[in-house]
């Protein structure tokens, strides 16, 4: 094994060791040792990822096997690594954000009894996520895919005494399983047609199979690639929370905030985006699948952003914003702008982590209060949190020169340049989404950090509204200490990660020239000539500064600004206005507050329906028909038959004698007549 190969192994194994030690021996080594051992693991992992990244930039790619998992027939299934530009990028993002979250957790979870367990989980998550992105085959991808789902499940339900948390984690797991259902069928089709699950072999052979068709319903002929890609994408819809499998992500906010940042914003939910980019040699062969991807992304991007505008829970605002941003990434994939999608994934990881961790900082400062109606005017109490979150919001809204501007603008332009008919649907939604994005990002900033402080004012109408809602929901009206404990800035373990993540939230976009247009991804992303979106943009790209000057002359910039301005007007200039608007636009607000009714429908139709059918089959099929009619019925039949023929064995001699005589008579009659 070469030094680099050892290093590849070290990247995922360092966090795994940390997870095992903190998880199995956390009770023995104590809290400090648990966070040290996992953080040291993460530091090693991050440094090693950095070295690998540097090595890949020097042009050293790697594709090799670690061990053979299973051989069956002619199929070899292996665990192995593919280290290329795409992998290296993901490795750096995952390990860096994870390290920041580890440090942040020291502050955020300081008082939690499950401290060691938490560190074990987030290190285990990092291991799983790294195995996912470093995989060189579909099987290991699926391994990592499900493993991150498991850790996500464990972490959403981390506070396992909260009914909402354990509802949310079950929901997240099952909804993800719906996606994985499609994903696994896609993998099975790949194995069937290609005879292997190895990326390199599958991608090399894909053009030869592009003409194949498959008949799923008798009489309908589908392109094989379309079926495979859509099935694989169903997996991505689950993991990356795309409509209509998005329903689990907002509820996942029940988990502790560090994991909302790490798992449900920066890394795990982007696994679907990564997967489609990785599969670009397959998706490129099906315009139908790409159009499907684009439409789903557009729906998610726009309609989820709308929900964010009415949420009060600070984490839910960020969660819906994440859904919307994931929609942008998905749209980009549909436009064959894979590099733009990964670039948005890259910038988003930083600014969304800032927004979540900043929200967490606010939440601990207010003693676990998440409702923005009870915030307001926090900027002067928490300057570091405020400034970093402001940077995050600017990036999220896509304003130059912050990171999000470059990636989001490229996606919008790529949609414009896409030759697919679906872009006529996606492009307007993407542009309109910018307006909404500007609004909800700055609504959060202005509502929570500006204006009059409401956390110390129990008579403010907003605060009364919260109290009334909670009383209606049967919760006690709020913490008694709200009135006298003024919030203060969080400790350095919390603010340091914020600052370290805010820096790339500003400047990560400046590498766009190389990253998106400069052939940075090399052979790891494959785009055919018929999908020229990125190639078109690359011709028009003349550098970062011209892009900014061009950007401020286009519609999206002014829309984002308009959104931010509206938020400023509504929440700073006329703070009494939102309540009036809510009343006026009753129906629209209700629809948005109800999240378009998906949760209710799923609960009633799918969860309830499955239980009703299950009950029907059990009571009707198993109990009534099989057991009652056939099993016990045949026993009863035997019993009844026995009672009948029992009369022939009465035990009385004269019965037998009489029967014998009748018999002899009958015999004689038969013989002689």
């Amino acid at each position: 094994m070469t030094t680099m190969q050892k290093l590849y192994l070290l990247v995922p194994l360092a966090p795994l060791y940390g997870a095992v030690i903190a998880g199995l021996f956390g009770w023995a080594i104590g809290r400090r040792a648990a966070h040290w051992v996992t953080i040291i693991g993460m530091v090693i992992c991050t440094l090693a990822s950095g070295v690998v990244f540097y090595d890949v930039m020097q042009g050293h790619l790697y594709n090799g096997t670690v061990y053979t998992w299973l051989v069956s027939g002619n199929t070899r299934l292996e665990i192995g690594f593919l280290i290329d530009q795409l992998t290296a990028t993901m490795m750096v993002v995952v390990s860096f954000v994870s390290l920041m979250v580890h440090i942040y957790t020291i502050g955020y979870m300081a008082d939690d009894p499950g401290y060691q367990r938490f560190f074990s989980y987030i290190s285990l998550f990092t291991f799983s996520m790294l195995m996912l992105v470093m995989s060189n085959n579909f099987l290991q991808l699926f391994f990592g895919w499900e493993a991150v789902g498991l850790v996500s499940y464990l972490l959403i339900g981390f506070w396992h005494n909260r009914p909402t948390a354990i509802y949310a984690n079950l929901k997240a797991f099952v909804v993800n399983r719906v996606g994985d259902f499609g994903f696994l069928l896609g993998i099975a089709l790949v194995l069937m047609y290609f005879g292997t699950l190895d990326y390199a072999a599958v991608f090399a052979n894909a053009p030869n199979l592009a003409g194949n068709t498959i008949e799923i319903f008798p009489g309908t002929v589908w392109s094989l690639m379309t079926v495979i890609c859509i099935l694989l994408f169903v997996g991505a819809m689950g993991k990356s929370a795309q409509f209509p499998l998005h329903v689990w992500l907002p509820d996942s906010m029940e988990g502790p905030t560090p994991i909302s940042a790490l798992i449900h914003a920066a890394t795990m939910v982007t696994a679907g985006i990564f997967m489609v980019a990785r599969m670009s040699p397959l998706f490129e062969l099906s315009d139908t699948a790409l159009s499907f991807v684009m439409v789903i992304g557009a729906i998610t991007a726009f309609f989820m952003a709308l929900i964010a505008t009415v949420q009060y829970d600070i984490k839910r605002v960020v969660a819906y914003s994440t859904l919307s941003q994931l929609g942008y990434m998905t749209m980009a994939l549909g436009a064959s702008a894979y590099s733009a999608a990964i670039f948005h994934l890259f910038t988003h990881a930083f600014f969304k982590a800032v927004l979540f961790l900043g929200a967490g900082s606010v939440i601990i400062a207010l003693h676990h209060e998440q409702d923005m109606r009870k915030m307001g005017g926090l900027a002067k109490y928490m300057p570091v949190t405020y400034v970093t979150m402001l940077i995050g919001a600017l990036a999220n809204a896509g304003l130059p020169p912050f990171a999000g501007f470059f990636s989001k603008d490229t996606i919008i332009e790529a949609l414009h340049a896409s030759p697919l008919a679906a872009s006529a649907f996606a492009y307007p939604l993407a542009v309109a989404g910018v307006l909404i994005g500007g609004f909800y990002s700055f609504r959060l900033i202005f509502y929570a950090f500006h204006g009059k402080s409401r956390f110390d004012d129990p008579h403010h109408p907003d605060v009364k509204e919260v109290a009334a809602e909670r009383a209606a929901a049967g919760q006690h009206a709020g913490h008694g200490h709200d009135e006298h404990a003024a919030p203060h800035e969080s400790p350095w373990v919390v603010t340091l990660p914020l600052v370290l993540l805010a820096i790339p939230s500003i400047c990560a976009g400046w590498v766009i020239g190389e990253f998106v247009f400069g052939g940075y991804f090399g052979s790891s992303i494959h785009v055919i000539a018929a999908h020229p979106a990125i190639a078109t943009l690359a011709r028009e790209f003349h550098g970062v500064v011209p892009m900014i000057t061009h950007g401020v002359s286009t519609l999206p910039f002014w829309l984002a600004l308009a959104g931010a301005g509206t938020a400023w007007f509504l929440y700073v200039v006329r703070p009494e206005l939102p309540a009036v608007l809510r009343r006026k636009a009753g129906l629209l607000v209700t629809v948005l507050m109800e999240k378009y009714g998906f949760d209710r429908f799923n609960d009633w139709f799918f969860a309830g329906g499955a239980r009703r059918i299950g009950n029907g089959l059990w009571k009707g099929g198993d109990v009534a028909v099989i057991d009652n009619v056939f099993v016990n019925g045949s026993a009863r039949l035997v019993g009844w038959f026995s009672t009948v023929i029992r009369h022939f064995q009465s035990g009385y001699i004269y019965h037998y004698a009489f029967t014998m005589m009748i018999g002899i008579l009958l015999l004689l009659t038969m013989i002689f007549i």
């Binding site: 061990y67 396992h160 259902f181 498959i214 239980r611």
Partner: protein, 497 residues
């Protein structure tokens, strides 16, 4: 060196002799002696099966460790033993499970200890007999003999409704297998007076005869698997059986059905197997989907796991009857994995039952607050039951789904619904039992598992993870046997016109 040694006879008779020895300790005054002898017997029983794995030549076709001596000469019945890769894994699983059951019953069983331990040891010997018999009558005798100890286990140490369950179990399975005896006698006549299975494999048979023989066998094996719609004995048997009984029932006894299909149905009646494959596959898929939904609404933990077992066994029969390497190897892996996982789940329910004397999900809630170590292990097994990659539960399901896709898209589609149902029913149960605030005062008094319980569950946890992370050593030994079997099935046995 190993070949000369009657290892298979040891695998059969060591536990039986140990069981008889345990019986001699008599009443419960000598309970401790009984336990110690049982432990020694089960350890020895497990140890003697290990050389089978290490001495097994995975590349050799045919049966290995063959023993042949006459038994009833006038009917040319032989004591004929031998194993291939398929039997090998099941024998190992059986002996391993018996060891765990003896440890698990160590303190829990307080009445008729000797008889309890003896029943399991003898049962273990009989099962090894089924898995290694190459003579049809010997197979049948062992196959039926297993009913007796299990009948006693359920009927004596079972729950309140144990008599109904035990009789239902006994009659259901006995009636199922009687017809297979008829088929075996028919084959004996046709073959000109032989009970040798290998002789039966070579026997040309018309399609009509094959179909009848196949259906007769299927009656026996479908009940054992159990396949829908002859599955309703299993939930009752599990609910009433003591923990050890449930473990052995799920882990080993159900495998007799799958094994029977592989050892008898497929090679003896290959044309009928192919002719009727669609029928068996349909029943299997009904089991996966229908039973998956039924499992969702169970309120009794044992019943839920029993239904989950039936659903998982649907993968076994599905895999066998799609006749490709992935399918059949997947089916066998699924049998082994199901042995670990459902055995472990029944042990977990047993741990809770020993403390609260309830199997009702509604009586629990918030157990993790009082039993964190137990909850962590239970989580692992629940995830394995949901088929999470990295656990053994994934491997078999994955292979069968891969194989099913080659046969028909919709087979794979319906089979893959287990990803959703399996997760839903298992984790929903886990949520209601383990998570949440402490539900009542009895839960508040729960004590976490002791060393003995930890040992049993930890051994299973290691097995589940080992098989999930590195399944190749388990599957390696199957290749030759499965390839030969498939080649045999593909060759028509219809008489040449």
């Amino acid at each position: 060196m190993l070949l000369g040694f009657p290892l298979l006879s040891l695998a059969i008779w060591v536990p039986i002799i140990a069981g008889v020895a345990v019986l001699f300790t008599g009443s419960d005054r000598n309970a401790h002696v009984a336990r110690v002898i049982a432990l020694i017997g089960s350890v020895l029983g497990f140890v003697v099966t290990l050389p089978l794995y290490f001495g097994f030549d995975p590349l050799a076709s045919g049966f290995q460790f063959v023993e042949l001596s006459p038994w009833i000469e006038s009917f040319s019945v032989n004591y004929h033993l031998g194993i291939d890769g398929i039997s090998l894994l099941l024998i190992l699983l059986n002996s391993f499970t018996t060891l765990l059951v003896v440890i698990a019953g160590w303190q829990v069983i307080r009445e008729r200890v000797a008889q309890y331990m003896a029943a399991f040891l003898i049962l273990s010997g009989f099962m090894n007999g089924v898995f290694s018999a190459l003579d049809a009558l010997l197979f049948y005798v062992f196959f039926e003999a297993t009913l007796i100890p299990m009948f006693i286990v359920i009927g004596v140490w079972g729950g309140p409704n144990r008599v109904y369950a035990a009789v239902k179990f006994f009659l259901y399975t006995l009636l199922g297998s009687l017809l297979s005896l008829v088929a075996l006698i028919y084959l004996y006549n046709v073959s000109g007076g032989s009970f040798s299975l290998q002789e039966f494999y070579r026997l040309p048979l018309s399609l009509g005869a094959q179909i009848l023989i196949f259906l007769a066998f299927m009656m026996a094996f479908a009940v054992k698997v159990p396949m829908w719609p002859v599955h309703t004995w299993l939930p009752d048997a599990h609910v009433e059986a003591p923990t050890g009984g449930s473990v052995v029932l799920a882990a080993i006894m159900l495998k007799l059905g799958g094994y029977g299909f592989l050892r008898l149905s497929l090679p003896i009646t290959p044309d009928a197997s192919q002719y009727l494959a669609g029928f068996v596959i349909a029943l299997s898929l009904i089991a996966v989907v229908y039973i998956g939904l039924v499992a969702l609404v169970q309120s009794d933990m044992k019943k839920l796991i029993a239904y989950s077992s039936i659903s998982h066994m649907g993968f076994v029969t599905l895999g066998i009857f799609i006749f490709n390497v992935h399918g059949i190897e997947g089916a066998i892996v699924q049998m082994i994995s199901h042995g670990f996982v459902s055995g472990a789940l029944f042990l977990c329910v047993g741990v809770l039952y020993d403390r609260l004397h309830s199997r009702q999900i509604a009586d629990y809630g918030g157990v993790v607050n009082k039993m964190p170590v137990f909850s962590a292990l239970f989580m692992l097994f629940a995830m394995a039951n949901s088929g999470l990659p990295g656990t053994s539960g994934f491997v078999g399901e994955f292979m069968v789904i891969m194989g099913a896709m080659k046969a028909n898209f919709w087979y794979a589609f319906l089979a893959a619904t287990t990803l959703i149902f399996g997760a839903a029913y298992t984790l929903w149960m886990y949520k209601r039992v383990i998570f949440g605030a402490v539900a009542n005062s009895r839960v508040a008094e729960l004590q976490d598992i002791n060393m003995r319980e930890f040992l049993v569950l930890a051994l299973l946890a290691i097995a589940v993870l080992a098989m999930g992370i590195y399944p190749n050593p388990f599957v390696e030994v199957l290749h030759t046997s499965v390839n030969d079997l498939i080649a045999h099935v593909m060759q028509s046995k219809l008489p040449v016109q």
